[in-house]
């Protein structure tokens, strides 16, 4: 797409949208995605939602201690997973990116294992739940300090540029992260160097309880890209295909060496920030309901049905298949057993130094 002229204009007046709330294609270009890819996007959306609801249940049952609900954020997350080249490109996600990592192909058993701190966790039980990572899929392990992963993401992109690998980095974060100094430091550096990276902000308008207008006086997040010398795209995050095409164009732009972009996906977090949060204190239930009416799942489903490639029977079969897969993953993650105490002093350094061996011994 970049090789011709870019399809999307940055800094649009309204969020870029390609399908209406009722699933009608409204894009001004011919849709070229084949049926398989369209259905794959829908499958990832459904799997993510079912998975998120399952994690919330597991937390309520006391089987995991924490969850960062991602329902409502699936549009941009699934889009990122679908447009990157897995195992080649790199992802620097944040803690509400469960849909992203699942759709990218991180096995559900690893994600649940991470949340339970069992042997199924490739991170060996070292972090609180909702902090996945995968060396195999180039997913940088999530860290809690907000925006702290963005400068490392830029460093990886600079390494790609230096070596001319043709790889791309996509990093994601919420709008709260854009207030951190490290966000500015990182995106500014990427702009100055023309690094092959796409910054995807999932703007759900609340950083826990603090609303967008208390976060910034900027009209929108995309506008901040002006200051960094790169295009900023605001996209309807509840429109999975708009997310897909805009992020794809930004990724291709980065891959071809044209430079970085900032994409703001306007989404909504249906659930509380975490199980410890009471979101009724800062936002009315009517607001949540209004956003749920714009939900990406029925929207994408209507889109497929309108094209005559989806029906009730396929829907039921899909949900059954996903449910069975995830049940099995939870079982496996739990059955693998808690991480052993012997791991506690490992991985601080490449080799365990003497003073840590002494401290380990003192544990008895």
């Amino acid at each position: 797409m970049i090789k011709g002229s870019p399809r999307f204009q940055p800094f649009s007046e309204k969020p870029i949208s390609l399908i209406s709330d009722s699933g009608e294609w409204t894009g001004d270009f011919e849709l070229t995605l084949d049926e398989g890819e369209l259905k794959r996007i829908y499958r990832d959306l459904v799997a993510s939602r079912i998975f998120d609801e399952r994690l919330v249940r597991l937390q309520r049952q006391g089987r995991i201690s924490f969850v960062a609900p991602s329902s409502g954020h699936e549009g941009p997350q699934v889009a990122v997973a679908r447009v990157v080249r897995p195992r080649q490109d790199w992802l620097y996600p944040y803690y509400r990116d469960t849909a992203l990592v699942l759709a990218l192909g991180v096995p559900a058993v690893e994600i649940v294992g991470q949340m339970m701190a069992t042997r199924a966790d490739p991170s060996r039980g070292r972090q609180m739940p909702a902090h996945p990572g995968s060396k195999e899929l180039n997913v940088f392990t999530v860290a809690s300090p907000i925006a702290s992963h963005i400068a490392p993401a830029v460093g990886t992109a600079l390494s790609m540029k230096l070596r001319g690998t043709g790889e791309v980095v996509v990093t994601t974060f919420g709008e709260g992260a854009t207030s951190e100094g490290d966000f500015h430091a990182a995106i500014n550096f990427a702009g100055a160097q023309g690094a092959p990276i796409v910054f995807v902000c999932q703007n759900n308008r609340y950083a826990i309880s603090v609303g967008y207008n208390k976060q910034t006086a900027a009209e929108n997040v995309a506008a901040k890209a002006h200051a960094y010398g790169m295009p900023g795209y605001q996209v309807d995050g509840m429109d999975p295909l708009a997310c897909y095409f805009v992020i794809r164009e930004a990724v291709e732009r980065a891959r071809e060496g044209v430079g970085p972009s900032l994409v703001e996906a306007v989404v909504y977090r249906y659930g509380p920030h975490s199980p410890a949060d009471d979101d009724s204190r800062y936002r009315p239930p009517e607001e949540v309901e209004a956003w749920r009416k714009r939900d990406p799942l029925p929207r994408m489903r209507s889109f497929l049905e309108r094209r005559g490639i989806w029906d009730e029977e396929q829907e039921a079969a899909l949900r059954q298949e996903i449910d069975a897969e995830q049940r099995q993953a939870v079982k496996q993650a739990e059955a693998s057993g808690k991480v052993p105490r012997e791991w506690m002093f490992e991985d601080v350094f490449a080799e365990v130094p003497d003073h840590l061996l002494d401290q380990q011994d003192s544990l008895g």
């Binding site: 966790d121 972090q127 392990t141 400068a151 460093g155």
Partner: protein, 324 residues
């Protein structure tokens, strides 16, 4: 062999490592065309170009954070922080990302990188050009901390730091940058992290120090010799890990230890050394381990001499140990 200062050695070692390993890159403020404000990266830009000698925006968070991401992707970044006093905007990147990455990812990712920073007082720089923040780094699980005091040690330790699999904070005693000149060996000799160096042997008292204070400590040892007191001098060189065995063996043999560091006193590195001596070899001591340190005040512009541990304060501590 060639006569070199510490700062010349740094530039030469970086050059050698960049030639040896194309993964090694240098980044920081003014490290490119300018060759660094202290000239520690002189000539590298002309030799290796802007992709491997990166003039960064004025942002320590961007420098250290980007180094983490470069290391994760397989490069061997050497980041320069212009003065240790300016590391704080990048502190979160060091503490939360560089230091924790291996552990929190279960060994999936790591950040083999070096963060160089000139540190210490005695250069008339006032508070924001004189601090010794090494204790912050030692206290952060996952960082190695090195603080050499001679050109030869700087060469050997910088080599090791660049080749190490973990993030290394490489502190440079800037008041010794050009004050010490010595024959530095050619070749590829490296010095292991965590090995102290006995700079002088003696039987009456052990002086333990590192970094910028080593000059004063050696001067004091000479003065003690004139007074008939035989002092052993140990240069720790690495603070994390540190060479407990060399220190404990010497102090157990001699019975007296004076611990010198220009960093603030409370919970400074020498508090750890003193506690270790007390825990491990109390029965061998003729006097309690005594600290001579900077003070728990902001580094004072007008009082360099009073703030830094000089021969007078070190001599007084030695006398106290001898009289105990």
């Amino acid at each position: 062999m060639s006569m070199q200062t510490i700062v010349q050695t740094i530039a030469r070692t970086l050059d050698q490592e960049m030639r040896r390993d194309e993964r090694v890159v240098v980044l920081g403020e003014d490290v490119g065309k300018r060759g660094g404000v202290f000239l520690a990266t002189e000539n590298l830009f002309d030799k290796y170009g802007p992709d491997r000698v990166v003039d960064t925006p004025l942002s320590e968070a961007a420098i250290i954070g980007a180094a983490v991401g470069m290391a994760v992707h397989g490069l061997r970044p050497v980041a320069e922080i212009q003065f240790a006093d300016y590391v704080y905007p990048g502190f979160d990147q060091l503490v939360s990302q560089a230091a924790k990455l291996r552990y929190r990812s279960g060994g999936q990712f790591c950040a083999p990188m070096v963060v160089r920073m000139p540190a210490g007082g005695g250069v008339g720089g006032g508070h924001h050009h004189s601090q010794n923040p090494e204790t912050h780094f030692v206290h952060t699980a996952g960082l190695k901390v090195v603080y050499p005091s001679t050109p030869t040690d700087t060469q050997g330790l910088l080599r090791t730091a660049i080749r190490d699999e973990d993030p290394v904070i490489f502190m440079e005693p800037k008041r010794l940058y050009r004050a010490v000149k010595e024959e530095v060996p050619d070749g590829d000799a490296a010095i292991a992290l965590g090995e102290a160096r006995v700079r002088r042997e003696g039987d009456d008292v052990v002086l333990v120090s590192y970094g910028g204070s080593m000059g004063e400590v050696l001067k004091t040892a000479e003065e003690l010799e004139r007074q008939g007191v035989s002092a052993e001098v140990i240069d720790l060189r690495s603070l994390m890990p540190w060479d407990r065995d060399t220190v404990l063996d010497a102090v157990a043999r001699v019975g007296r230890a004076v611990l010198v560091s220009e960093a603030p006193r409370s919970v400074g590195f020498m508090s750890e050394v003193a506690a270790t001596i007390s825990e491990e070899i109390l029965d061998s001591l003729l006097a309690p381990p005594l600290r001579v340190t900077g003070f728990d005040i902001p580094y004072p512009f007008a009082y360099d001499r009073e703030y830094l541990p000089g021969p007078n304060r070190i001599l007084a501590a030695v006398q106290k140990a001898l009289d105990y």
